[in-house]
């Protein structure tokens, strides 16, 4: 095997911890999914451990293994649109050096954020969610007073929920509109 290649492998294995996934796959950050796959195949042809299985040097095989595991890791993240988006944001941020490898913590954060979003959308407490869901049903049916009652109940459990307040204001303005002019309510 030519000496040039051995030097390259050693250098790459030594510096791989400083590369981001685009660097590992030798790609620009703008790469399309097709380009990512092509790059993965290209790097696989070069660094697939099977290619070096019959090489005597255990040291070389170990270096190749280290590189190829990272190639697989890079491909796994970059082929997944959601993870890729998150990863690009991570390595573009101030913590770049700590986030060159996509980690559990990041994934847990993603889940946490999604959960928070959903909660904000539908309420944080079981009862808040229940009444808010009921309000939405009433709204769909066009029963404004029913919706107003349900939203007030929801706000009893979550007085600070901005979404609930917003909806309530909208509903109240609707009831205001439909209420006949000249107030003759039957007692």
């Amino acid at each position: 095997m030519d000496a040039q290649f051995l030097i390259e492998v050693e250098a790459l294995a030594a510096t791989i911890d400083q590369l981001d996934y685009f660097g590992v796959l030798r790609l620009p950050q703008s790469a399309t999914p097709g380009e990512i796959k092509a790059a993965y195949y290209r790097e696989s042809r070069t660094y697939h451990p099977d290619r070096y299985a019959a090489v005597d040097s255990a040291e070389l095989r170990e270096l190749i293994g280290r590189i190829y595991r990272r190639v697989n890791e890079a491909y796994t993240i970059l082929r997944d649109d959601r993870k890729r988006l998150r990863y690009v944001a991570d390595i573009g941020g101030p913590d770049r050096d700590r986030k060159l490898r996509f980690t559990e913590v990041e994934e847990a954060q993603v889940k946490e954020e999604q959960k928070k979003k959903i909660e904000e959308q539908f309420g944080q407490t079981p009862n808040g969610r229940k009444f808010y869901a009921a309000a939405l049903v009433e709204l769909q049916a066009g029963r404004w007073d029913g919706a107003e009652r349900a939203l007030r109940s929801a706000l009893m459990y979550e007085p600070g929920n901005a979404k609930f307040k917003e909806q309530l204001a909208a509903v109240q303005s609707e009831t205001e509109k439909t209420r006949p002019k000249g107030d003759y309510r039957i007692k």
Binding site: S44, D50, R69, T76
Partner: protein
């Protein structure tokens, strides 16, 4: 060594096969035994004279020497004694299945007790002997295949079996992947293919994208409890119920009758698949309490058979759905379908596959031999000394079939490496101590798709020690989970601050210890394979 040789071995539930790529560059070829048989029953029969008979002759002994004849060992390999599969096997197998250390499974034959890999090793020893006879030289290296859906325990046990048989297992490769390799697509255009692999005891589906020299597995799914045996079971149940109604005798109560019934079931399945109808005749299957010798005579039509197994066939397509979904494809995106495994000869399977994928499945390579042929191609590639310079003819980019998890509090698990992630791969996770002065950290590792630990398979419990002692939360241990090219999991840990590797002990593992292995290797080497005169 340029004259080095390595064979490919398909170690099947029911049948095994060995193949080689000749050194002269000819295409891969199956190595037959002295009698010209190309596939060999994965049956091990322990004879009176102390020798061991393996293969199609041993299969005949399932009835005549039932207690000392072990078959379908692959259904037990790498399983815990308490698993459902083992309980089920205990109920139907005429040989003894007993509990060994660490919840492992042992097979009792005469006065000896064998670990399951030791039984599989005897099958491998026979494959090795067949190859050596056919090639006229010694064989020490092999690629052995396993179902794509095998977990770490099962893969490790398969690898152990190879070692016990005196083979250096260059690689464990997945059966569907091997089959794809044997078909050798490799044109410039990229194609998406589906491998539908229905074996004796397991079912696998793999979806691959194949370019010029790259075989990328996009997804794999499977069922390690579904195979041709289950089709036989349906026929057996029907025959037994019918016999019970006619004669008031339950053939399943007697292990001898059960074996005759099983054999009749398998024969009927093959016949009905080939001829559209099967005439079943088992003279003298049992004796009535009055001493009358009873025969079993029945006729199984194709329609009857299809109705019996329809739900099993449908189960295979649920697995296909799952694999396609993971690969983000639909059945219509698949450019070719490969059929693997003897049961795929059945018309009901062929027709259903054709209907599901809306295309004619490929059957150019014998479904019983295709896996061994593929394994031999990979074996040859792994020995190639020119590959480093010139590249391989093809690269297998395979995936892990199951999500790797660690146990968390309250019986929950957390995913570490998702299923269908390309291998080899590694991932690290940092654990901290939870008590002041804690000197060891213990983690449980699982494989499976449930976030509850009881819904997953336990791989083992790892205990790390030898790190710095400190206040709780102060000591950080980075645990690295690696899945190697065989799909086998390795776990190691380092103290993050000092960079010191900690020592690791594994408990609760179904595997064999190094000592067990050494002893098993010696025992295996001492076994003499029966090569006696052959009954007609």
């Amino acid at each position: 060594m340029s004259d080095d040789i390595a064979v490919g071995i398909d170690l099947g539930t029911s049948y095994s096969c060995v193949a080689v790529v000749p050194a002269d560059g000819n295409p891969p070829t199956v190595l037959p035994n002295e009698w010209g048989e190309r596939t060999h029953a994965s049956v091990v029969s322990f004879l009176e004279d102390g020798t061991v008979l393996v293969g199609n002759d041993a299969k005949k002994n399932i009835i005549t020497n039932a207690e000392n004849t072990v078959y379908s060992a692959k259904r037990l390999i790498g399983r815990f004694f308490f698993s459902d599969e083992v309980k089920k096997a205990q109920a139907v197998m005429p040989y003894q299945i007993v509990e060994g250390a660490n919840n492992s499974v042992r097979v009792g034959v005469k006065d000896k007790v064998f670990a399951v890999p030791e039984i599989s090793a005897l099958v491998l020893k026979e494959m090795k002997a067949i190859a050596e006879t056919a090639l006229g030289r010694e064989v020490h290296k092999a690629v052995v295949t396993c179902p794509a859906y095998f977990n770490d325990n099962q893969r490790q046990a398969t690898k152990d079996a190879g070692r016990i048989a005196g083979l250096e297992v260059l690689r464990i490769i997945n059966e569907p992947t091997a089959a794809a390799l044997a078909y050798g697509f490799g044109r410039d255009i990229s194609q998406k293919i589906c491998v539908y692999d229905l074996g004796g005891g397991t079912f696998d589906v793999s979806i691959l994208e194949i370019g010029k020299d790259v075989f990328e597995v996009l997804s794999t799914a499977g069922d390690t409890y579904l195979g041709g045996d289950d089709f036989d079971d349906r026929i057996m149940t029907w025959l037994a119920d019918d016999f019970l109604a006619r004669h008031g005798l339950d053939l399943r109560q007697n292990k001898f009758c059960l074996q005759m019934l099983k054999e009749a079931g398998e024969r009927a399945k093959i016949e009905v698949g080939r001829d559209g109808v099967a005439d079943i005749k088992v003279p003298g299957i049992c004796q009535s309490p009055e001493g009358e010798v009873l025969d079993m005579v029945q006729r199984l039509t194709g329609d009857q058979f299809n109705r019996m197994v329809m739900d099993l066939v449908q189960r295979t397509f649920k697995v296909c759905d799952e694999a396609l979904q993971s690969a983000r494809l639909t059945a219509g995106d698949v450019d070719a379908v490969i059929l693997v495994g003897g049961p795929t000869r059945l018309p009901i399977i062929r027709n259903s596959v054709r209907h599901y994928f809306q295309r004619e499945p490929m059957t150019g390579v014998d479904p019983d031999e295709v896996v061994a042929l593929g394994a031999s191609i990979q074996a040859r590639a792994l020995l190639s000394t020119q590959a480093a310079e010139q590249g391989q003819a093809s690269y297998l980019l395979d995936v892990t079939p199951l999500t790797l998890r660690v146990g968390t509090v309250g019986g929950f698990t957390e995913a570490i490496i998702d299923k269908n992630t390309p291998i080899p791969i590694e991932k690290s996770k940092t654990f901290t101590t939870s008590r002041d002065g804690q000197d060891r950290v213990r983690i449980r590792v699982y494989q499976g798709e449930s976030n509850r630990s009881e819904g997953c398979e336990t791989l083992g419990e790892f205990e790390f020690s030898g790190f710095r002692i400190g206040y709780r939360g102060e000591v950080q241990i980075q645990v690295t989970f690696e899945i190697d090219s065989n799909g086998i999991v390795n776990v190691s840990a380092t103290d993050l601050e000092t960079g010191q590797k900690t020592s690791t002990t594994i408990s609760l593992s179904s595997g064999l210890t190094e000592n067990d292995l050494q002893k098993a290797m010696d025992d295996n080497a001492a076994v003499e394979l029966s090569r006696g005169p052959r009954a007609a």
